[in-house]
Subunit: 453 residues, 2 copies
């Protein structure tokens, strides 16, 4: 799939376009064509738009942000390897080639299934004939609000920048802290959850933090930063094959990451992390990467939600009671992964393929044809461990080390939208390679007091 080619394709058969007849009027119908409202401009949503491009439908795409975030590289923004702009692609630039599609930056506040309408915070309700929910996932704190308040998370660009600033401020505070114990707390970074996000982030922190301290904080020369990865279960990278799980753990430990398995976090407060098992740990910076749940929009559908608050869908990806409503990607719950009873995981490839299938099935419905079941083509899974290290399961091959990292790099640049973003990512990486952390690439400061006068 070549997402960027889409940008150059002007293959739409629809020439008399919605966009040209007035974006403001999207609340009222301007054509007799069926309207598909797509919520979310992630991998799922964009592939619905793409799949409907050549069809006689009008598409309204909505997202809270004006950009498609390339989340697989988000941890590199948090660790200052990439500038935030390089993983964000403006949605209006994407939809420009789709003459049957308009976009609005809007927050969906409600879904009226009976009247087929979605409410948005920024304007009038928008009616639909078909609705696709592709709003992704958010953090799951399993009901613990204190943990939610006292931890960083890594679900969007803003949060990644907050982590970046948090690291910087921990260093600067430590440099002014006379008490040795408090200094050690400030220099302890703890990541909860060892899925790809947790593994990638803790690996990147292990590469970022010690050289930064050594080079630029001579007053902290005697101090040792701790990077701790905590997992509630018995293995890292639960979805990966056993040998790759072990490789990942060995490599992380070699890089200086302390790994605590079978440790369930029960609380994070005042720089102290408590566990169900074992003694507490003082850590000034805690990142929560332990679980996700579907966007809260799932609750607006009035159906019983499945594990992770995901919406159970038919094998054709729509709701049983409302076949005009599709739920795809991280928001949907559908069993059948690897041919078994496991649900499809919340990864980009599932969202992409579900988006493609949802578009096909909407067109089938419009044309009165039979819808197809979702069939997943498993292209494997990847996780980096360090700057030149990764584990990968692709086409039944298990790779690790530098070769896996090359595969990982190629795949991610391939899927990244836009020539400018690819260029920025590649330059960022080349620069990091050349300098290997010689620069502090985090900028920030203490909060500003507004001048009164």
């Amino acid at each position: 799939m070549q997402l960027t080619n889409i940008l150059k394709n002007t293959t739409s058969l629809v020439t008399n376009t919605l966009g040209k007849t007035g974006e403001q009027t999207n609340q009222t119908r301007t054509t007799s064509r069926p309207r598909v409202v797509v919520i979310g401009s992630g991998f799922g949503g964009l592939n619905v738009v793409r799949g409907l491009a050549k069809s006689e439908v009008e598409v309204v795409l909505l997202d809270r942000n004006n950009y498609h975030g390339f989340w697989p590289l988000l941890y590199q923004v948090a660790t200052a390897e990439l500038v935030p702009d390089s993983i964000a692609f403006p949605v209006r630039e994407f939809v420009k080639s789709y003459h049957n599609t308009i976009f609005h930056m809007a927050v969906v506040t409600d879904i009226d299934l009976a009247n087929k309408r979605v409410s948005i915070r920024e304007g009038q309700p928008i009616s639909y004939d078909y609705l696709v929910l592709a709003a992704g996932s958010t953090n799951n704190y399993f009901g613990n609000k204190v943990i939610a308040q006292n931890t960083f998370s890594l679900k969007d660009v803003e949060q990644a920048v907050e982590i970046r600033q948090g690291i910087l401020k921990a260093f600067e505070k430590a440099a002014l802290e006379p008490d040795a114990e408090k200094r050690q707390t400030l220099l302890t970074f703890l990541v909860v959850g060892s899925g790809p996000t947790g593994v990638e982030l803790s690996g990147a922190l292990a590469e970022l933090i010690p050289p930064l301290l050594q080079k630029f904080y001579s007053g902290l020369a005697g101090e040792k930063a701790r990077i701790i990865l905590v997992e509630a279960h018995t293995t890292l990278l639960e979805s990966f094959p056993g040998p790759l799980q072990q490789k990942a753990q060995q490599h992380l430990e070699k890089m200086g990451v302390e790994i605590l398995k079978n440790h369930e976090v029960t609380g994070v407060e005042n720089g102290e992390v408590t566990f169900k098992q074992g003694p507490k740990i003082q850590a000034g910076t805690v990142v929560w990467a332990a679980g996700v749940r579907a966007s809260t929009l799932a609750e607006k559908l009035g159906v019983k939600l499945a594990h992770g608050e995901r919406v159970p869908v038919e094998s054709t990806l729509n709701l049983k009671e409302h076949p005009e409503v599709y739920v795809i990607g991280d928001m949907s719950y559908l069993e059948g992964f690897k041919g078994g009873k496991k649900p499809y995981p919340g990864v980009a490839q599932v969202a992409i393929q579900m988006g493609q299938q949802a578009a096909k099935n909407i067109l089938a419905q419009i044309e009165g044809k039979t819808q197809e079941d979702f069939h997943y083509i498993d292209k494997g899974q990847l996780s980096t461990i360090g700057r030149r290290d990764a584990v990968a399961e692709v086409f039944n091959l298990q790779l690790s080390g530098f070769v896996a990292w090359l595969v990982w790099g190629a795949v991610h640049i391939f899927y990244l939208l836009g020539a400018r973003n690819r260029l920025l990512v590649m330059l960022g990486w080349a620069y990091n390679y050349a300098t290997f952390n010689l620069g502090i690439r985090i900028v920030g400061g203490w909060p500003h007091q507004k001048a009164a006068k």
Copy 2:
């Protein structure tokens, strides 16, 4: 002056360094050398550090941010021509080569002249033998808090990013606004103040906004964005020679900027700008670039402040009553510009040269020698108007158009710290040239609601 060469020079004679003996202990003396505390890591402060590099003093540099901001290019961050990181250079990377200097990211809250101590919010007070105030300027709203609240300003990276987001949100709101008049208000951008900042910003907006609307907001195709530059006095670019003032005005008008001279803003509220003279204007986005005042730290010195709340200094740049205290750059008030009674303006060149002189005079004081008066070498002034246009007064030459723009570009890249930042700036410019605004380079979204569960 080649600021970047400094980074490679390890010419300090001081080998037993403060940094190595413990940064945390900077509050208590570790050596018998005189300590110079420098507040502010702008052009002034960094040049004090540089001037003291080879001397038997210890230097403590303090700033609220961890970066040196290259403010002359800040408007290009606001108009999304450059990524924020490209104009911010980490101070710790700068001070690394200065073995007698340590840096702390800290907010100075008070100055105790009697006991020669500065208080910081993030730690213990720091004593000094010599103090240099180089904390720059902040916006001057002339006491009007409502204007302060309802306008954007352009004094640091955060504010530049806010303007960028403000432009984006104005577009997105307009695309959802059914009322034509409200749409026009949202699409009206007003800049108050026609110094270099106001001229550069309004020119860049005139180049950014119309093509963005045309390319990506087809629903707003019938709308015309207005960019208005408002000046209380009779001319643009007050400090420039008359012919260049006229050129700047002609060029801006040709680009579609509406210019209102002799218009003093009295209020900005609910998208409405009122003036002392003439009818009010509906404008959704207002940027305040009308005046600056010295950092509020000036008030801590207990001396009568001059115009713009600046601190009157002796011709040797220190205080009469406290010769160990220097005030330089935007914070200081010293007459003598162009040989007359005018004070030296708040520009980078003045700050740089004052920083150099302050360092020399501190060393003279230590050695019991006579201090020198500040003598300014006027290297001219520059202001861009558009992407290929500028006005420049250099070495008694008056330049305008593309040649002036080339001079402007060369000077700014020359003074920009760090190879990576130069590379980012040059790539950003090259990309803009190649695509000429083909891309929306603003990313943003509506504020996030924290997931409760």
